[in-house]
Symmetry: C2
Subunit: 340 residues, 2 copies
DNA sequence: TTGTATGCGTTATCAC
DNA sequence: GTGATAACGCATACAA
């Protein structure tokens, strides 16, 4: 079976393709009679305009591109879920690519998307990205761009993110309010802003509450900041500090869960002997034992806002209206459970 | 900044677009000299052929479409991970759509993908799909189609799946071998084949080991077969059977984890008072307490195989070779942990 | 060895 | 009210 074209319709009706095209778009200068016959036949034969031809003429693809570090991540799945739903409502399709936390992949993927003629791009930067020429290229090509979650402050585009420093500050303040004093931090990679900000929030909360910051309580997890990092850091911190540490604030839930597993194995009581506070509020946090206190990042909201802004910019561009980039801060929420 | 076209190159070099086009594709009938000058300039200006024009001529989009029930699912994320990696290697891009377990979404999405001119389609069917006209349409349009995981036996295309019945049989047989006798089953939706097959495997294992099948031990979870289903069914089974049940085989891990949570809350010892066996081997299964025995579905392998077959068919079609559809059964594996 | 002409499917401009 | 024509960017058959 082949796709029906304007030509097919025109031939069957003894009209020109020009008239058929105009009839389908309800142009005023076509008689109602021809309009009806054209539209009826088009419906009957399930005519759909060829998207390549459309693209060639209009430069519009009705596709938006999304680049994320990784797919297998509760946070990003949730963001994508929102993006898909919003895109679909607007009759847009979504091309997804994974950078796998590699700058060179991200760069190549940007080129591919630009070449494919996507109408807009959403990116959550890889941890290794600290050169932004590829993002500038998107802007130079005049393609709307929105950065979310892992953003670059210096790039001139819209951004959707959370206040990592504030969220971390609140979490650590909560721990302090519960009486914990020797609070460690399992921090993430040195590079990404999130990781830096969460560390800064941790540090500031200590200082504001009169607790001296002790660098030896900060553990750098530069692998993947994943389960095994949490597990091994938990082991290490006991070797280093014994019971002279009473709580750990981790840069993400996975590390907290790794730590919980280690402590559970060793029969160390949570939160009595050591308390834990995660970050991201993965589904998992609610079902492990003990359930993990965490910071909800509102992933769905982040995805929704990101694509909403992207579409605003796409529409502005289409109608040649000016557009001022937005910076949206998504609210976070402390979710207190049994780990502290 | 604008995209460079053949015309731009031609103008700058004082050549025709035809010659430039041929030079770029290394045609034998272009002088080495012009070839070099063209290729040098193309590289310098970062020329990339316009993908709409390419599509319009060749009918190839270099895009494949994937429809899955939902994004937020460890299994599907892992499948997508594999699909992305394999597609990228072949310079293909991937459009992803979620059916949200709704037939009408799935149908609409198929139409969108066909209209977009994708070169191939991968689908894991929604639980509610039991009409396959939309799939037939793909076949009629001569677009390669591979069904994976949630397949339809009657549709004439390649399929990649696991042997659900066998896997369930093995899990339940394992429970029996450990001495459990009153083994319940939390089953999934009545419609999808997976759910049916897992139930049949459960039943057959009982019968083959001389345990009478007791229908009152089968709980139908027709909501989403998710965490809360597991939790509430766990509650119900205790009301119905008290301690006259010693193990539960669940249709997926989420339901098992829901049940574990209920039993943990009530202080019911796992596996001493009741054992559990899940299905899918989500990451979560390894980190909850107690860790959950499950069946690993080899999601990555399933994604990889699916797209490999899809590309085989795409290539065959391109070179007008015949292609016989394949049925690939992905091996599953029992992963025994502390819940039984 | 290079250039001209055509078509892919659509739409906009301009004749008729 | 309708139709011929050109253009979007590319590749190719064919002419020079």
């Amino acid at each position: 079976m082949k796709h029906i074209t304007l030509k097919d319709l025109a031939k069957q009706l003894g009209l020109s393709t020009a008239t058929v095209s105009k009839a389908l778009k309800n142009y005023p200068d076509v008689s109602d009679e021809t309009k009806k016959s054209v539209q009826d036949l088009a419906r009957e034969l399930n005519y759909e305009p060829n998207s390549f031809a459309l693209g060639l003429r209009s430069k519009e693809s009705k596709i938006i591109g999304v680049i994320i570090p990784t797919m297998i991540h509760y946070f990003f799945s949730s963001v994508l879920d929102a993006i898909f739903k919003e895109a679909e409502q607007r009759n847009y399709m979504v091309i997804v690519m994974q950078s796998n936390e590699e700058y060179c992949n991200e760069k190549k993927q940007v080129d591919l998307l630009l070449n494919k003629g996507v109408d807009g791009i959403l990116i959550s930067l890889s941890n290794k990205t600290n050169d932004f020429k590829h993002l500038q290229k998107i802007i130079d090509y005049d393609i709307p761009l929105v950065l979310f979650d892992k953003i670059a402050k210096l790039v001139n585009c819209s951004k959707v993110f959370i206040d990592d420093k504030k969220a971390a500050y609140e979490a650590v303040s909560y721990l302090i309010s519960k009486g914990y004093k020797r609070i460690a931090h399992f921090r993430g990679d040195l590079n990404p802003q999130n990781s830096i900000d969460r560390f800064l929030g941790y540090k500031k909360a200590l200082e504001d509450h009169g607790i001296t910051f002790d660098p030896s309580l900060v553990y750098l997890c530069d692998n993947n900041s994943d389960f095994s990092d949490g597990y091994s850091s938990a082991k290490q911190i006991l070797l280093d500090h014994g019971d002279n540490v009473d709580a750990i604030f981790t840069v993400n839930d996975l590390m907290a869960i790794g730590a919980i597993n280690y402590f559970n194995e060793k029969g160390i009581k949570i939160p009595e002997q050591i308390a834990l506070f995660g970050f991201s509020n993965w589904f998992m946090a609610s079902v492990i034992t003990p359930s993990l206190s965490s910071i909800d990042q509102n992933a769905y909201q982040m995805g929704k806002k990101s694509i909403e802004i992207l579409f605003e910019e796409i529409l502005s561009k289409k109608s040649n209206k000016p557009f001022t980039h937005k910076k949206i801060v998504i609210d976070t929420e402390l979710v207190i459970r049994n780990s502290c």
